[in-house]
C-alpha cells in the first residue's frame, strides 16, 4: 500500500513589511536613550525648581540677598568648585550658580555612560553584530545610534525645559520662558558633547569599561582646566580650553552669550563625524586602540576570589584614587587664597548653612570635602555594582561551583571595598594637607587626616545599602546605589543653603557628615552611618545566601 502523501499548495503567509528598515538602529537607540533621558530630565527640572523655590523662601529681604552675594560673589573657592557667582541677588543668578556645575557634570556622566552603553556595550554583548546583519552598514548604524542618542538628549532637554519654565512662572520666581529654555539648553549641552565623546571612545576602545574610562578622563581634564581658570590665579583664558568652560560661558540667565554655543556645536560635530568615520574602518568588536590579545601570565593575585577582585578592579580603583588625590591636592592649594576672600558675619552665616561654619581655609576645605565625599561614595557604589556584574555576567558561577561559599565570596569583596574606601579617605586627607601645607596654611595634618577619614562613613552606608539591594533584587543594585548617591548630593546642595524639610535632609547620607575640617568630625553620626551600612550589608548578605543565583 502506498502511503498517501498530500502535498498542500504553498500558502502565502502575510509577512509584515518593516516600513523603514534603514532606521531600526536609530529607533532602538532613541527608545533606550530617551527612557533614561526622561528620568534625568525630571531630576534636572526638579533640581532647578527646588533651587528657585527655596531661594525665594529663604532669602526674602534685600539685605539677606546682598549678604549672600557678598559671601560668594568674589569667593574664588566656590568659584573654582561651582563656577562664578555673578548675580546672587536674583533668583536666576543664584540658581545658575547653585546647580549648574553639578547638573553639567551629571549630564556629562549621563552622556558618556549612555553612549558607551548603547555603542560599545552593545558591541561587547554581540547584539551589535545582529543589528549589522540587517539593512545597514557599520557607519550608518553608528550614525543612526548617534541620532538615537540625540533623541535621548532632546528628551532630557524637553523635560528639564518644561519644568524650568513652569517653575519660572511662579509669582515669586518670575523668570521668563525664554531664559528658562536657554538655561535648560545650557545644562544639556554637556550631555550632548559627552554623548559624542562616548561615541568616539566607543570606536577607540575595545571594551565598554575602557571606552567609559577614556571619556571620564576627558571629563576630568575638562573639569580641572575649568577649575584652574575660575580659581582666580590669573589663568582665566584657560576657560576656553575646557568644554565645561564653554558651557559656563553660555552664562544662562545672568548674561547670555549664545556665541559660546559655537565651540560646543563644533566639537560635537567633529567628534560625531570622526566616530562615524572610524566605525567604517575598524573591525566590529575591535577598537582602534588595539588591546593586547596575548600576555604573559601574572598569577600573583589569582589565588582566590578576593585576589581576583583586586586584579580585576585595580585599574579602576587606581584611577579613582588618583582622581580623588588630585582633587584633594587642588583644593588644598586653593583653600588659603580662597579663604582669605571670605570675611564678615554674613559670610560666616552662609557658610554655616552649607555646614561649614567659620571663615578662612578651614571653611573652604569644609565645603570642598563635600565634593570629595561624593567621589569616595562613587568608589563605594562602583564596588558593589562590579560585584553585581560578576553575577549577572555568569562569572560568579565559576567561583561558587568550586569550594567557595557565598559568604566568603561576598565578605572578601566587601573587605576589598572598605579597604579601598579607607585608602581613598586617607589619601584625600593627606593630599589636601600637602596642597594646603605648600601654601603655608595653618590647617594641621591630623585635622585633615581626620577630615579624610570622615569621608568614609557615607560611602560605607551607600555600599551597605547596595549590598541590601544586591541581596534582595540584584537587578536594582545599580539604580539603588547611584540613585541614592545622586539624590544625597542634590539634597545637600539644594537643601543645604535653605531650610529644607528635615525628613528630606535625613535621606541624604552626606547630610549626616560633619563638614570637617570646618568643624570636628561627628564620630557619633559617623558611627550610626557605618552601623546602617553594616546592618544593611548583613541583611543583604543573608538575602543573597537565601536566593537563587542569577546565571546569564
Amino acid at each position: 500500500m502506498h502511503a498517501e502523501l498530500a502535498v498542500a499548495p504553498p500558502v502565502a503567509t502575510p509577512v509584515r513589511a518593516e516600513r523603514s528598515p534603514g532606521t531600526v538602529v536609530a529607533r532602538l537607540s532613541a527608545r533606550r536613550a530617551a527612557r533614561s533621558g526622561a528620568v534625568w530630565g525630571l531630576i534636572f527640572g526638579l533640581t532647578i525648581a527646588s533651587s528657585e523655590v527655596s531661594y525665594t523662601r529663604i532669602y526674602t529681604t534685600r539685605a539677606e540677598r546682598d549678604a549672600l552675594a557678598a559671601a560668594y560673589g568674589s569667593n574664588k573657592a566656590t568659584s573654582a568648585l561651582f563656577g562664578p557667582a555673578p548675580q546672587l541677588q536674583t533668583v536666576g543668578g543664584f540658581t545658575v550658580f547653585k546647580i549648574s556645575m553639578t547638573l553639567m557634570i551629571l549630564g556629562a556622566v549621563w552622556g558618556l555612560l549612555t553612549s558607551t552603553r548603547l555603542l560599545r556595550g552593545e558591541e561587547d554583548s554581540g547584539r551589535w553584530d545582529l543589528l549589522l546583519t540587517g539593512q545597514t552598514t557599520r557607519r550608518s548604524a553608528t550614525a543612526q545610534a548617534l541620532a538615537g542618542l540625540g533623541a535621548g538628549a532632546g528628551t532630557l532637554w524637553l523635560l528639564t525645559a518644561v519644568i524650568a519654565v513652569l517653575s519660572g512662572r511662579g509669582s515669586k520666581v518670575g523668570i521668563a520662558a525664554g531664559p528658562s529654555l536657554y538655561l535648560a539648553l545650557a545644562l544639556v549641552t554637556t550631555a550632548v558633547m559627552f554623548l559624542a565623546v562616548g561615541t568616539l571612545t566607543s570606536q577607540l576602545a575595545e571594551t565598554r569599561r575602557q571606552a567609559a574610562s577614556y571619556a571620564a578622563i576627558f571629563l576630568g581634564v575638562s573639569y580641572a582646566l575649568r577649575m584652574i581658570a575660575d580659581a582666580g590665579v590669573g589663568l582665566h583664558a584657560l576657560i576656553w580650553a575646557s568644554p565645561l568652560g564653554w558651557v559656563e560661558e553660555l552664562q544662562p540667565i545672568t548674561a547670555p552669550q549664545p556665541l559660546a554655543l559655537l565651540p560646543i556645536i563644533a566639537l560635537t560635530a567633529v567628534l560625531a563625524a570622526v566616530a562615524v568615520h572610524l566605525a567604517g574602518i575598524r573591525d566590529v568588536g575591535a577598537g582602534i586602540v588595539a588591546g593586547r590579545s596575548h600576555s604573559h601570565p601574572h598569577l600573583a593575585l589569582l589565588s582566590g576570589p578576593t585576589g581576583l577582585a583586586i586584579r580585576l578592579l585595580r585599574a579602576t580603583i587606581m584611577a579613582w584614587w588618583v582622581a580623588i588625590a588630585a582633587a584633594a591636592l587642588l583644593y588644598g592649594l586653593i583653600a588659603k587664597s580662597a579663604g582669605a576672600t571670605i570675611s564678615g558675619s554674613s559670610v560666616r552665616e552662609v557658610f554655616a548653612k552649607l555646614g561649614a561654619p567659620g571663615t578662612g581655609t578651614d571653611a573652604v576645605l569644609g565645603v570642598c570635602f563635600l565634593v570629595l565625599a561624593v567621589l569616595v561614595a562613587f568608589v563605594g557604589a562602583g564596588q558593589i555594582t562590579a560585584a553585581c556584574a560578576e553575577e549577572s555576567g555568569g562569572r560568579l558561577d565559576h567561583m561558587l561551583v568550586r569550594p567557595v561559599s557565598r559568604a566568603s565570596w561576598l565578605s572578601g569583596r566587601l573587605v576589598v571595598a572598605v579597604t579601598v574606601l579607607v585608602l581613598s579617605g586617607v589619601g584625600a586627607g593627606i593630599f589636601a594637607w600637602l596642597g594646603a601645607a605648600s601654601q603655608h596654611s595653618s590647617v594641621g595634618f591630623t585635622t585633615l587626616l581626620g577630615a579624610g577619614v570622615n569621608l568614609v562613613p557615607p560611602a560605607i552606608a551607600i555600599l551597605g545599602i547596595g549590598v541590601l539591594a544586591f541581596g534582595i533584587r540584584p537587578r536594582t543594585t545599580s539604580v539603588v546605589v547611584y540613585g541614592l548617591l545622586g539624590w544625597s548630593f542634590l539634597v545637600v546642595i539644594v537643601g543645604g543653603i535653605g531650610a529644607a524639610n528635615h525628613w528630606v535632609l535625613d535621606t541624604s547620607v552626606f547630610h549626616h557628615m560633619a563638614s570637617a575640617p570646618a568643624v570636628s568630625p561627628d564620630w557619633e553620626a559617623n558611627g550610626i552611618m557605618t552601623g546602617i551600612g553594616v546592618a544593611s550589608a548583613l541583611v543583604g548578605g543573608l538575602a543573597f545566601w537565601r536566593r537563587d543565583l542569577q546565571g546569564e
Binding site: M1, G291, L299, G304, L308, G394, H398, G551
Partner: protein, 300 residues
Amino acid sequence: MATAIRMEGLTKRYGDVVALDHLDLEVARGEVVGYLGPNGAGKTTTIRLLLGLSRPTEGRGEIFGLDCQLQPVEVHRRLAFVPGEANLWPSLTGGETLALLGRVHGHVDEAYRDELIDRFDLDPTKKVRAYSMGNRQKIILVAALMVRPDLLLLDEPTNGLDPLMEQAFRHCIGEARGRGQTVFLSSHILSEVEALCDRVGILREGRLVEIGTLAEMRHLSALSVEATFDGAVPHLSGVPGVRSVETSGRVVRCQVRGSIHPLLRALADADVTELVSREPSLEELFLALYGGGGGEGRAR
C-alpha cells in the same frame, strides 16, 4: 553500589511555572548517566539545584551523601562543573584562568592539565577576550577535567566544539569512566549520549519520564523493518503491530511494535529478496517520546 547523586522529590517552581516536579533520581558511583530533554525541560535547573546555585522549592539533593544546599563547599571539593556557556573574565588569559580556577579548587593534576591543553589545542597565553566561543568552552572543560574530580557535572559541555574536539572530549570522558569517576551529562547531542552513557534519563516538562539503559528503553520505540520483494508487494497495513507502512516501488518500510511474528507470517507468503531490521537509535527513542511536542519555554 554506593550512590554519587541522590535526588528526592526535588522541585523548583518559579511563581506558577513548575521547572522541576518532584524529581527522584539516583546515580551510582562510577556511572556515566545521560540527561536528556528538550529546551526548557528542566535540565539546567536540576544541575543548578545540585550545585546549590538555586534553592529548591521542595525536596533535596545529595552528592556523595552530602547535602547540596547545606554543605556546598564540601560537595564542591569533590566535583567539577562545565556549563554550556563559557562566561569567563575577558581580561585574563586562558592560562591565568586555569591557574585561578585550579587554585580555587585546591587540587590540580598539573601533568594532566598540560596534556589536556595539548589535546584540546589551546593557546594559554591568549586573552579570553580574543578566544572564539569554542576555545572558551575548551578552557572550561580543561578546568573541570584537570582537577580529576569524583563527579563531573556537565551541562551541554560540547557547545561550540568542532567534531575533532568533540572526539577529544569523548576520549576524556572515556578516561574518566576508566578511572571510576562519575559523570552526569546533560546534552542535546544524542549520538554523544548514546556513545558515552551507561544509563539515560529523559526529562519532559520538569518530570523524569524515562530512566534506564538504552537496551531497556528500546521498547519505547518500534523496530524499523525494510523488505524488498521480487513479485507482488503484499498489503501489510492490517497486520497486528505493524504501522507507518510506506511503499516505494518494490520496497516496503514499516515500524513494528510488540511481537514481530505476525509480520514474519505475512512476509512468508510473499517473494522477499531482502529483509533488513534495525533497532531504534536514541534519536528515534527521543523523537518517539517527544512526538507530541516538547515543553518549550517551561524552564531554563
